[in-house]
């Protein structure tokens, strides 16, 4: 039971490995796109596909029993709530900074290499 799914053929690892290379290339290519909803969606899609593949295949989560899957993958869902609350808080802090201190006067340099 403990080693279930750990002695399967190597093929699935090669496929996963190749998929990670392809997905990473795609996510790198999003950097050449213009900012917008499409770019954000693609960044998140490639990120979740890579993360899912790593956890499911490389970390063997796909072969574990539901009890372990839920115990490990369930709690991180709570982080979505934190993300929601902190982005609301962030917007509020930015608004009150602008109200009290005015717009930024920072003049950034362009990174030179």
């Amino acid at each position: 039971m403990a080693t279930e799914g750990t002695q399967h053929p190597l093929k699935i690892y090669w496929i996963m490995w190749a998929a990670l290379f392809v997905l990473s290339t795609f996510s790198y290519l999003t950097d050449f796109m213009d900012d917008g909803a499409l770019r954000t969606t693609l960044i998140l899609t490639f990120m979740l596909a890579k993360a899912g593949g790593i956890v499911w295949i490389f970390m063997h989560m796909g072969w574990e029993r539901l009890a372990l899957k839920l115990a490990i993958l369930g709690p991180p869902v709570a982080i979505l709530v934190l993300i929601g609350m902190m982005s609301l808080e962030g917007e509020y802090v930015e608004d009150s900074r602008i109200d009290n201190y005015g717009e930024s006067t920072f003049v950034p340099e362009t990174p030179g290499h």
Binding site: L20, L82, Y101
Partner: protein, 228 residues
């Protein structure tokens, strides 16, 4: 002792019925070696640490009124006379993915009790990890020489520096610890340490879990810090 617990009432029922069985029968809940269960729980806690860092980064990036530095320019490199955005970061990403692949193969070879291949694949993984950390050190030195500090930088919001050094620093520390961990396990595989303990190579899978997690965190850092 663990065999006795695993055998008593162990069920192979899949899905939701298996979930209820695993939790409600009077037995060990997770049918995996304790080392593996504990590594998963450690990784769960590490997930929360990295999430807090990334959420903190999101929070300060939203809240600042100063413009956020453009990562593709800040992390760009000149190669053959052309400015390539995020060049080093892309290479680092591929190095880490390659190391994840060699680690996955090492775990498989471990279960096949092929000690020689397991050893060399783990050493390769560790070397790729060390390469990653070296490139990270280069990136840090470059940014520091350009005036990026945790409290200020010339390219935009001050919070950029603090987020960058904290997040990549903590990740780099994990990679460094992983390299040491992998080398210890690799040499123990080679010198027959586990043969004297019943020839059980689950430790390779447990070390692999940690290593894949480090790669997993990088996927999120790459998306949220470098691409966003």
């Amino acid at each position: 002792m663990s065999e006795a617990i695993l055998d008593s009432g162990a069920t192979e029922a899949p899905g939701a019925k298996g979930l209820v069985d695993d939790w409600s029968r009077d037995k060990q809940v997770f049918g995996v070696p304790w080392g593996k269960a504990m590594m998963w729980i450690f990784l769960l806690s590490d997930t929360f640490i990295f999430s807090c860092f990334l959420v903190g980064y999101m929070s300060v990036r939203i809240a600042t009124t100063d413009p956020w530095p453009n990562p593709s320019e800040v992390f760009g490199l000149e190669a053959f006379g052309v400015q390539v955005p995020l060049l080093l970061i892309a290479i680092m990403t591929f190095v880490l993915i390659t190391s994840s692949g060699t680690m996955a193969l090492a775990v498989n070879m471990g279960y096949r009790k092929d000690r020689k291949k397991t050893f060399w694949l783990m050493v390769a993984t560790a070397l790729l990890g060390a390469t990653f950390v070296s490139m990270q050190a280069f990136e840090w030195s470059k940014l520091i020489s350009e005036g990026v500090r945790p409290w200020a930088n010339p390219f935009g919001a001050a919070q950029f520096g603090s987020s960058f050094f904290m997040i990549t620093g903590f990740h780099g520390m994990h990679v460094t610890a992983g390299v040491i961990y992998l080398l210890i396990v690799a040499f123990r595989v080679k010198n027959g340490y586990y043969e004297k303990r019943g020839g059980n190579y689950e430790i390779v899978e447990i070390a692999g879990l940690y290593w894949h997690f480090v790669d997993l965190v990088w996927v999120f850092i790459f998306a949220f810090f470098y691409l966003w």
